[in-house]
Amino acid sequence: MNDTASRSVGAVAPQRAGFLEPLILKAGKTLASYELVYETYGTLNAARSNAVLVCHALSGSHHVAGYYADDPRKVGWWDNLVGPGKPIDTERFFVIGVNNIGGCHGSTGPGSIDRATGQPYGASFPVVTVEDWVVSQARLMDRLGIERLAAAVGGSLGAMQAMQWTLSFPDRIAHALVIAAAPRLSTQNIAFNDVARQAIVSDPDFHGGNFYAHKAIPARGLKLARMLGHITYLSEDLLMEKFGRVLKRDEYGFNYEVEFEIESYLRYQGDKFAQVFDANTYLLMTKALDYFDPANETGGNLARALSLAKAGFFVASFKSDWRFPPERSREIVKALVASNRDVSYAEIDAPHGHDAFLLDNPHYHQLVAAYMDRVAMEVGAGRRATPLALAAGELEEMRGYAGRGEPREGA
């Protein structure tokens, strides 16, 4: 939605919340205490009914929208979707982005110091699941005074969290936007994840997960993992269109140096990622993906598993996504229909593959905006100022007027 009235939320600052209440994990272990780093955009209304939680995927973070004053180029990962006048309109909704436990962007994770030992957790950091994340997110909502979410929104692994919210806390969420998701990983998905993990753990610099103590980074393994993952995030057509068989030099070198543009691109992406991401977090995130399977509790019956949910669902897939193809989303929709849940489903014609959920696509964004309008109406989050029909002055006037009625309660 690149209309003239949609803007950035502007400069934002992450916040931090510490939790001393132990978190009992699905794996049976306990995290004695933990910290969550989060950002919020917009204003929580007086009824506290307009909160939207944005859940991140494998490599995402709490930095969903806006930029940092000291680093204006660091724009949030879903900035095209979240902001004033954008599909998730921060003039109506109070939007929360949170870095999940086990992450490497500030929340407690394998690279954090374990208070019990004074050393980084490393290999001792427990495996965390989607269910565990959702519990930790709910505690953050408690802290922010939010009893019930207007919506949880996510793509990919983020979508799994939105879905899990409706099952773990059916009374605390009105809507789930489940984008580019799967109800459980396929064999092929798990296979790809394991190759990525093997690349990391077989790097000599991994040191069994305790590489921090060795002042090392398993950059080669992490790079390979990312290169592999990256291929699965993009469609074959897009790769072909973007890079074709273009060579870095004029002719074949008949050696094993970088020759094709795609090799150069992937290596660059892998190197860049390996410098900023934590290898243990990568392992943990892929495991969380592998373990997610709500139907496991109901003997494989997804409809029965999802019948716990009370929320309305918006499910969207992308036709060129071969990591979580439309058939996987249709499984979710079919199960929701079979259990009589409210659901709308869109199969979006975007060429980019799995990554399409992060990219600009007018139809996709219009659908999300239309669904969020419904959410706003239901939870009393106010109307969308219809930007294109109004002159700029009128719009500012309306915004000023709308702003007066709402006390600023954002944490």
Binding site: V333, K334, L367
Partner: protein
Amino acid sequence: MQRYDFELIASWIPERSRVLDLGCGDGVLLAGLAATHGVKGYGIEIDDANLLASVKNGINVVQSDIEEGLASFGDGAFDFVILSQTLQAMRDAERVLNEMLRVGREGIVTFPNFGYWRHRLDILQGHMPVSKTLPHDWWNTPNIHLCTVKDFESLCAKVGAEILDERVIHDGKTVRVLPNLRGSLGVFRFRRR
């Protein structure tokens, strides 16, 4: 858009029914039925623009091909399955009708009556018919399986559907005299015998 077949359909559907609307367009029928009859249901729609309109109209809408999409629904999952002015565009109309009977307790089908006198006159004059109910030219029409009211009765008999109500309407009125000649839109309500 005021559609007379929608009014007729609304008069047949009891409050709080579960309704599946195949080819729901912009979703106004389901949205209207939800508002006036408290029905709960889903629309099936393939077209992007219609899907967006349906989401805006606040209905549950699932983007799918009707002929594939029906397979997602269990036997007897709905009180009513509606196929409004879409049958004529189906590749396998007989299978769609059978699926409607499987998924719904009752089916409602509306379709442009090819037997309408203007259509017959067009043919007599040597042209494919173009009218309010058949607005396309032969070369761009999505309508591949056109039929008359009598033809549809035959198909109902073949698939074992008991016709509960049958109207042929024109310009918002039910045509009682020579309906297959004077009516432009067939509206049928049926169930499995």
